[in-house]
């Protein structure tokens, strides 16, 4: 009696082992041309058995239309739904690892930098920086301190201690370059500069915003307003 019961359980167990597992990991961000289809292999890394892998990779998920502007969010639930619909008769388990949505950027054409605009911004930054440092010097009484340092070291009085002030001005630029770790394109060191980290953080913040805001599934509101 008892052995019979054991046998039955074992057969049941073997059926459930036959279930296949597909692992997908959505990419954080991808670029696509307008009017193109987004396939599963574009949007995610896939691990699956060889017999279904090709079919999975070519699975179309979304067609970019004119109606979409430049950002489309694909939620992982949409991807899983698409996979389970195609493979509804076979026993397929989808495991998602990583981000819950993928940000698709629709790139119409290569953005060209307009040179006059760039020059304008460059000049704006140049003049603004010059004005800001002069204001800073006035604000902290830099000149008075410099005159006192000159008198402290040499014992003489000079209204314009240029021997201190010119090295100081050069050092000002040098200090900024050291901090940013950049001399034009040249790097002083392998590590990312604070500005690059800041750029990355800013992009991440923007991505976070669109991932939640453009994704209709991520928030639910009452309809009574």
């Amino acid at each position: 009696m008892r052995t019979k019961f054991d046998k039955k359980e074992i057969t049941l167990w073997e059926v459930s082992v036959l279930e296949k597992t597909v692992y997908i990991r959505l990419r954080h961000r991808l670029q696509i041309r307008p009017n193109e289809k987004i396939l599963l292999k574009d949007i995610a890394q896939v691990i699956a058995d060889d017999d279904i892998y090709e079919k999975l990779c070519a699975l179309p998920l979304y067609k970019v239309t004119e109606h979409d502007r430049n950002i489309v969010i694909i939620d992982v639930m949409k991807v899983i739904r698409a996979i389970t619909q195609i493979f509804s008769n076979s026993n397929l388990e989808v495991q998602s690892i990583g981000p819950a949505q993928s940000i698709v950027e629709v790139v119409t054409k290569k953005q060209k930098v307009s040179f006059p605009l760039f020059l304008l911004v460059w000049l704006l930054l140049f003049i603004g920086a010059a004005l800001a440092i002069m204001n800073f010097h006035e604000d902290v009484s830099m000149q008075a301190v410099q005159l006192r340092i000159y008198t402290l070291i040499t014992g003489e009085v000079d209204r314009k201690p240029l021997i201190f002030q010119i090295p100081y001005s050069i050092g000002l630029g040098l200090g900024m370059i050291i901090f940013f770790n950049h001399v034009f394109k040249k790097r002083l060191n392998e590590e990312p500069s604070p500005l690059e980290v800041e750029m990355f953080n800013y992009q991440l913040d923007l991505d976070n915003y669109v991932a939640l805001k453009e994704n209709k599934e991520s928030m639910k509101y009452l309809d009574d307003h």
């Binding site: 460059w122 070291i153 014992g155 021997i163 010119i166 050092g171 000002l172 034009f184």
Partner: protein, 141 residues
């Protein structure tokens, strides 16, 4: 009465020094210049000595302003001194978070992600030019 006055002044002076000193250190800590310098030179282990350098520098500055010594040394000493203070102020200006926050937005707006180093150089040259202009020409006016 006299003793009470002296003690009171000492207490006020000490308290003021405490507040300013801790504020100074907090300011440096927020800007993150010291971590940045240790990161660039890979001398994380020496950070305690850097702390000591900052404290001693602040003390030397306090002594120099209050005591007004006159050292009668060669003016050539002012060149490294000026360069060092310039580098420090330059790092200070670069480390201000406002600067770090504005650049990514600006670069995105005009779409020059790759050329951000050139924009940065505008900033650097602007600072150097503004400073030179002020000391050589502007202060005479």
């Amino acid at each position: 009465m006299m003793t009470i006055n002296v003690v009171l002044v000492m207490i006020i002076g000490f308290a003021g020094g405490l507040a300013v000193g801790s504020g100074f250190v907090a300011f440096l800590a927020v800007l993150g210049i010291i971590p940045r310098l240790t990161q660039l030179t890979k001398t994380m282990k020496m950070i305690h000595h850097y702390e000591a350098a900052v404290v001693m520098g602040a003390l030397a500055g306090a002594l120099a302003t209050l005591w007004d010594p006159v050292l009668q040394l060669t003016p050539l000493l002012l060149i490294p001194l000026g360069l060092a203070s310039g580098i420090f102020i330059g790092m200070l200006a670069a480390a201000l978070t406002e600067v770090l926050n504005v650049f990514p937005i600006l670069a995105k707006r005009i779409g020059v992600d790759g050329k951000i180093a050139i924009l940065l150089m505008a900033f650097v040259f602007g600072k150097v030019f503004g400073s030179l202009f002020q000391w050589i020409y502007f202060v005479n006016k």
